[in-house]
């Protein structure tokens, strides 16, 4: 076992003595070579949890063991075992991607650093054209990929990636997932922090969904989806963002995001739903619709957006 988190609770006390429970009795573990997805909305407590694993923040109660030893005992050891891509952009200043990644590699591996690893990474992510351009002139995606390379050039036993695909184009996202997969072949474990659930579903071995500081579910993607496995999801593109569309009475849960409306249904209601959708298309209320098996995103939305669903 690489990482073992036991009953970690972190409470921040505000200026008016108000207590904010950011992590509430969280427990989980990560095995060697495993990709663990940590999903949750903004402010759910993901980054606070990561900072505690790195020893940057001390939990109020609970303990975190990396390779069998407590993080609290030696934070430098924790930072050596883990390598991190932070959520925010890394301001590279005048550093070129090649310099930044090479220096980070040397910092981690010292004299044993293999410089060809940098070129191999840039090749795998199709980043060669940016290798020698000063960081401040690079686009957001190029900077994000550079920060990713800094985390994986000499990976720790545990690589923590906080929203690694933000700003990255779809083609290079695929390359990036491949690089992450390759890491795990050598026994490296990965924590993937994200709110991009659709992408994460394809990549992770196990997943935990965190909401308001608590794990509301964890397991393999299929275990997590079991709660809604006999359901289907229909996704509609509304003709106008403001269209006031009445959701059918048999819809189990619905979620609206601008002109995109989703709801889940039982398999028995498929035909009725398609008929209903055809009527809406004929009336010009929706542009198109699609029906698909449930994804982790549905579970995620159902579990984390109870308020939105209730108010409908």
């Amino acid at each position: 076992m690489i990482l073992d988190v036991k009953g970690v609770t972190k409470i921040y006390t505000g200026s008016n003595k108000s207590q904010n429970i950011v992590n509430d009795n969280l427990s989980f573990h990560i095995n060697e070579g495993e990709i663990f997805g940590l999903l949750g909305q903004n402010g759910a407590g993901k980054t606070t949890l990561v900072n505690q694993i790195l020893g940057l923040v001390t939990p109020n109660s609970g303990d975190i063991h990396l390779l069998g030893e407590s993080v609290l005992a030696s934070p430098v050891r924790a930072r050596t075992i883990c390598s991190v891509q932070p959520q925010s952009q890394v301001p590279l200043g005048f550093l070129t991607p090649k310099q930044a990644v090479t220096l980070m590699g040397k910092m981690r591996a010292g004299k044993h650093f293999d410089a060809t690893r940098v070129d191999a990474l840039f090749e795998a992510l199709s980043m060669g054209e940016w290798a020698n351009i000063e960081g401040e002139k690079l686009s957001g995606g190029a900077k994000r990929l550079t920060a990713f390379c800094m985390a994986v050039v000499v990976p720790g036993r545990l690589v923590i990636l906080d929203e690694p695909t933000n700003d990255v184009d779809p083609v290079r996202r695929r390359y990036l997932w491949q690089v992450i997969r390759d890491l795990t072949k050598n026994g490296t474990s990965v924590i993937l922090v994200t709110h991009n659930v659709v992408e994460a579903e394809k990549a992770v071995d196990r997943v935990a969904i965190i909401d308001q500081g608590k794990f509301i579910t964890q397991g393999t993607p299929s275990e997590v989806k079991r709660a809604v496995s006999d359901q289907l999801r229909i996704e509609l593109n509304l003709a106008q963002a403001f269209t006031d569309l009445e959701v059918p009475t048999w819809a189990l849960s619905s979620h609206r995001n601008g002109a995109r409306l989703m709801f889940s249904i039982d398999q028995a209601d498929v035909l009725a739903t398609i008929d209903w959708a055809k009527v809406q298309v004929d009336q010009g209320l929706i542009i198109d619709y699609s029906l698909s098996p449930t994804t982790i995103e549905d579970v995620y939305i159902e579990l984390t957006s109870q308020k939105v669903v209730d108010s409908k």
Binding site: P75, R79, P86, V90, P91, K106, M107, G156
Partner: protein, 243 residues
């Protein structure tokens, strides 16, 4: 050995990241230090050699104070705001190594300004330089104190508060501190304040190093600076390791 390697790579990372900015700052430092020597002679008409010697031996101290207590806190404010500070905290190295590498860089950018100002002042005014070997430990101690104090308060305080302090310090150091003129000209309460603050000791040590035949400095000033230096770095390391 490991620590030395870490120091080397952290230094390279920080130096290359700031390369353009550092060149620019070193140039600014040269201009400021020449400006102090020449500019103050406009302020004091018919300046005698004694006054010019005060200015010429005060300029390097101002440069070191300026670097440690004005430029450095601004840089730290920026790296707190843009997330670089948080990123550095995840590096697999001891925090003191990062502090040491950064200190080296700050020290390096002050050197060109000090040399240029001294050469220019000597060629223009020949104010009576008599450089002693103590100039090396003097510059080191003054720079480390100034950088250490700069680190201490900019880690301790919010960016806004440390910006405010640095503005007061730069004005106070230039106009209300016995750096470019003798202590006796200040009112008594300011003299008492300067017995505690490090600025007076910095300027005394620098003067004795650059014009050793004119000025003397007591050991007490060295001790006082060391205490301030330790307080500054101690505070910075404490804050860096705080969770």
């Amino acid at each position: 050995m490991n620590v030395l390697n870490h120091y080397k790579y952290v230094f390279q990372m920080q130096f290359l990241r700031n390369a353009g900015f550092l060149v620019f700052m070193a140039l600014i430092q040269m201009l400021i230090s020449i400006g102090i020597v020449i500019g103050f002679t406009y302020l004091i008409p018919n300046a005698n050699t004694q006054s010019i010697l005060y200015l010429a031996t005060g300029a390097p101290t101002i440069i070191l104070i300026f670097t440690g207590i004005v430029i450095l806190p601004q840089q730290i404010g920026t790296s707190k705001a843009d997330g670089y500070m948080a990123f550095m905290r995840t590096w697999p190295v001891n925090r003191a190594v990062i502090l040491a590498a950064d200190t080296t860089i700050w020290l390096l950018i002050t050197i060109p300004g000090i040399i240029v100002a001294t050469v220019v002042a000597h060629l223009m005014f020949s104010p009576g330089y008599d450089i002693s070997w103590t100039v090396i430990p003097a510059i080191l101690l003054i720079a480390l104190t100034s950088i250490g104090v700069g680190y201490g308060f900019s880690y301790l305080l919010s960016p806004v508060a440390s910006l405010a302090i640095s503005q007061v310090v730069v004005f106070g150091a230039l106009m209300f501190s016995p750096v470019n003129f003798p202590m006796e000209r200040l009112p008594e309460w300011l003299q008492m304040l300067h017995e505690v603050l490090p600025i007076y000791s910095m300027s005394e040590i620098m003067r004795a190093a650059l014009a050793s035949s004119t000025f003397d400095v007591g050991l007490g000033h060295y001790v006082k600076l060391m205490i301030w230096c330790i307080l500054g770095y101690g505070g910075a390391v404490f804050i860096l390791n705080r969770k």
